[in-house]
Amino acid sequence: MAIQHRSCAVAMVVLWLMAFAACSQFEPRDKRFYYRALWNFSLREDLAELDSEFNGVDFGHSNLYENLLLTGGKDIPAIEDRARKETLAFIATKPRINPNEEAIAPTYMKLAWRAQNTFDEAHALHRATYDIVVSDEPDKDRAIRDVLAYYQESAYAITTKRLDHHRLDQFPYSKTFRNRFPLFNATIWSYHYLQVAVYDPLQAAPDLAAKTQAVRPILTTYRRYLEQPPVAWTFMPLTAELSPSFAARYPEIANIFDNLHMLHDNISDILASEQVPTWDAKRTEIYRILNAYYLASADGTNSMMVNDQEHHH
């Protein structure tokens, strides 16, 4: 009798799990640890001034998405004034540790975890390349290629191929965010400027003291952009324009970062646009473009791949 009861309970649990698994929103979490190496956290330990700015950038993206989602993408003061100023205030605290983005954007994380995990993996690649460039790792080139290979093992890896960012910026909802919220959009592009502009100066500087000096002008420019967002820009910054040596040496990584930043813009537009009216529709569209155009797993069928150079900025 006891065995029958136990079997019945197990069967009920299995049926319950199968019912949940059949639900369209049943998603694996799939968090993966970063590439473990001696150079981990070199940027945080040796060039904290720059590291803290990147920690602020992490806050900015998540805070924007949560606020766009909760306000329906129409409340201009909520985004341009309140959310943007929250971000600037957080950046001003010079955070020593990257914030927990799930605490910043709990609703967005539930809406589009797959996209967030894609961001997390690409941001980990960003962090790893900074750490390597700043560290005393003797074979930086090999280390960078190793972390790239590790990144590409992930099911959430963005394609290393060059994508047609102009076409990716011509969906029916494209440019909604930048047209409605030009200040926050220019702030986001300023983050992306900082993220890609530091590579060449960091690589060219021979030692830590020189690297510290080399990034100072970029930090000064970045902080000026935060105070006076560059609203005249018509397109996001591209790695090849701001760090041409790095992009020439590691074109796959440059493509990943540019594609990552384009995906950020697409998601901002989807969250802001009335043409994608419901949360379900936004989730569906985010996952559609992610799966069809951005993930490396779509390389065989991706219609957005190009071979020519692009210069927008």
Binding site: R29, F59, I104
Partner: protein
Amino acid sequence: MNQVAVRIIRPILVLMLGLWPLSSFALDHDNLDPNRPIGMEDAYAISKGEIGLEGGVRFNDRREGRTRVTFQPQIIYGAFDNTQIEIQGDLMTEPNTLVGAAKSGDLHVGLLYNFNTETLQLPAMALRVEADLPTGVNSKGVDTQVTGILTRSFGRLRAHLNAGYTILGSPQGQERPGTYRAVAAVSYPLGYPSSFRDTLIASIYTRQSDLQGQRNNTGVEIGLRHQLSSRVVLDAGLGTEFYGPTDRAALLGTVGVSVGF
């Protein structure tokens, strides 16, 4: 103290102390593991590939009997996608007076599998299976435990339900052959939008007493997890049992540390 347990624990402590000067990353203060610092957990496993070393000291000031101190060293490893395995070996004072599944020096192995991430429609769900091997003082038989875990967030507040059942491999004297345990808990990140280093946790729990004929141990706990550096999380907790056997806890206290690398 049990010699077998000492042999198990010593290398863990040495390794932890050796790592202490390093600054590191990753054990997320918002990812909640049992006993760090209170007896509840969320439905998420640590990242695949991550290694965590955790340790703590727990004081149980009982209403009858002497205060019991428990040392809680543990290793966690993100072995597979959404799966963590754990090895633990609690050491307790007055080991000869313990009843129930938890015996001082038992080697504890566990596996937590997270089925899904939380979405707008679904809570995060996980299943934990554990076994206590009888390496400890007065320990007989392999005790097994199964726990179901749900996590659901409401804004920044996260709610957690844990429900488990323990089967004793070889109950002795008046020990129950099986006991259930249920915990309801909430966690909340403190400091938004200017700081993200602290998570507050509170729980209420009930569990069947270890001995037959006694009332359920029922209590509340509150704890804090603080991200000290990228890799180090500190924790502290307090609790009390307001219902249960005469030797139930008057005051529970825990301090601990987790290091991820």
